[in-house]
């Protein structure tokens, strides 16, 4: 009996190891639609720490992974800036997170100033939050409702025809999700494919 058990456990271990190895090549999103995002703390571009749960009382929080040097992300700068202006007055908080190891904090601050990204920008040194959320590219948005539950994950827009031309970019995919969350409904489309530049992680090199 105990021998059978040992063989079973050994087999299960081998299977898990095999699954881990074969699944290791591309990252899977860590947080699923309908799951609650745990609180986190990250510093802003001046080094001041901010907690996610500081935004308690907001109707929704849009966490967007951004970059300074990625043409895909830069093509969406004007989209992000106008979305934040439009929806902050309606009770939505916007948080930009830069998790690229190649982009220093001073560059992130200057980039935000130059492109009118006047929402909170946090620096995720070591990609802890990018890893926890399972963010893989820039720009990529995670939309949380007032209970920190993930309601939408993916592209701001243009997921069918990604472009680095700012004239072709829009918020056609995140906007319906924002409207659904604000009206208390579950988002109709909960996931789209976020295209862009891979986040330059510390460990992946």
């Amino acid at each position: 009996m105990s021998r059978t058990k040992t063989v079973f456990v050994f087999g299960l271990g081998l299977f898990l190891l095999w699954s881990a190895c074969s699944a290791g090549e591309l990252p899977a999103a860590k947080i699923k639609i309908g799951e609650k995002m745990a609180d986190f703390t990250l510093p802003d571009v001046n080094g001041k720490p901010h907690r996610l749960y500081d935004f308690e009382g907001k109707k929704a929080v849009a966490v967007i992974f951004i970059a300074t040097r990625c043409p895909y992300s830069n093509a969406f700068n004007h989209v992000m800036a106008s979305l934040a202006h439009e929806y902050e007055s309606r009770g939505v908080a916007f948080i930009g997170i830069n998790a690229n190891k190649t982009e220093p904090v001073a560059e992130v601050a200057e980039h935000a100033r130059a492109h009118g990204l006047d929402f909170l920008i946090l620096k995720d040194e070591g990609n802890q939050i990018a890893d926890r959320l399972g963010a893989s590219v820039t720009p990529e948005v995670f939309l949380l409702d007032s209970t920190w539950t993930l309601r939408y994950h993916g592209a701001l827009g243009n997921s069918h025809q990604p472009s680095t031309n700012p004239e072709k970019t829009n918020a056609d995919e995140v906007r319906p999700a924002l409207e659904d969350v604000l009206s208390g409904k579950p988002a109709e489309v909960t996931e789209t494919k976020a295209f862009g530049c891979s986040i330059k992680r510390v460990k992946a090199g």
Binding site: S136, V137, Q161, S163, F195, S198
Partner: protein, 215 residues
């Protein structure tokens, strides 16, 4: 005794080898043959063996050639690629191991990775590896794409994405691809996806996955 003499090695090589007579003696002892017939049979055995070896060698060469189709000639210049074109490219390479790379001229890690693809193609194309590069650049960047490919000495198929629904295409390639570039996909001879990479990949990492597929 011979070994201790100067020039023994040379003399030894020129001395008739003692093997065949000894073999004949052994054969004769085990299976006594009529006088005069043993030489003919030994010769017959040697000739048949030699011909059989040649035949096996010839078959091996023929078989390996018929299993690996030659590389389809790459189209000239950078070709616009939509869903139909992609299906065609994929089908054309059936029978060969295929490495598909998504990149862009503005993507630094893609540019850094690109020489690895050129080196892989040059090293393994004769053993059945094909490489295809698909650029994610805007249409106005075509001159930049062509210039970069030329500077790299890339002589494999090169395309610019012009997909009607890129999200659907990506999901059909690998739903776990987040959409980041560079992204590279390895297909076996039957056209099945065997490995995916997102982010810049080294020559050794590519080679480690490609080589077992070429066997």
């Amino acid at each position: 005794m011979l070994r201790n003499q100067p020039g023994a090695l040379f003399r030894r090589q020129t001395t008739p080898l003692p093997g065949p007579p000894r073999l004949k003696k052994t054969l004769a002892a085990v299976h006594p043959l009529p006088q005069g017939g043993e030489g003919k049979i030994a010769n017959w055995l040697a000739v048949t063996g030699f011909i059989s070896c040649l035949a096996v060698l010839f078959l091996c060469v023929c078989c390996s050639r018929s299993v690996i189709p030659s590389e389809p000639p790459p189209p000239k210049g950078v070709v616009e690629l939509d869903e139909t074109g992609w299906a065609k490219v994929h089908a054309q390479q059936r029978g060969r191991v295929l490495l598909v790379n998504f990149w862009a001229t503005w993507c630094d890690p893609c540019r850094e990775e690109f020489p690895n693809l050129v080196r892989l193609h040059n090293t393994y194309r004769s053993r059945g590896l094909s490489v295809v590069a698909i650029s994610m650049d805007e249409p106005e960047s075509r001159p930049a794409i062509e210039q970069f490919l030329k500077s790299q000495g890339a002589n494999f198929g090169s395309y610019r994405q012009h997909f009607k629904d890129f999200e659907a295409l990506v999901n059909s390639i690998n739903p776990r691809w987040g959409g980041g570039i560079p992204a590279t996909f390895l297909y076996d001879r039957e056209g099945r996806l065997v490995k995916s990479w997102e982010g810049a990949t080294t020559f050794e990492e590519f080679e480690g996955a490609v080589k077992p597929q070429l066997r």
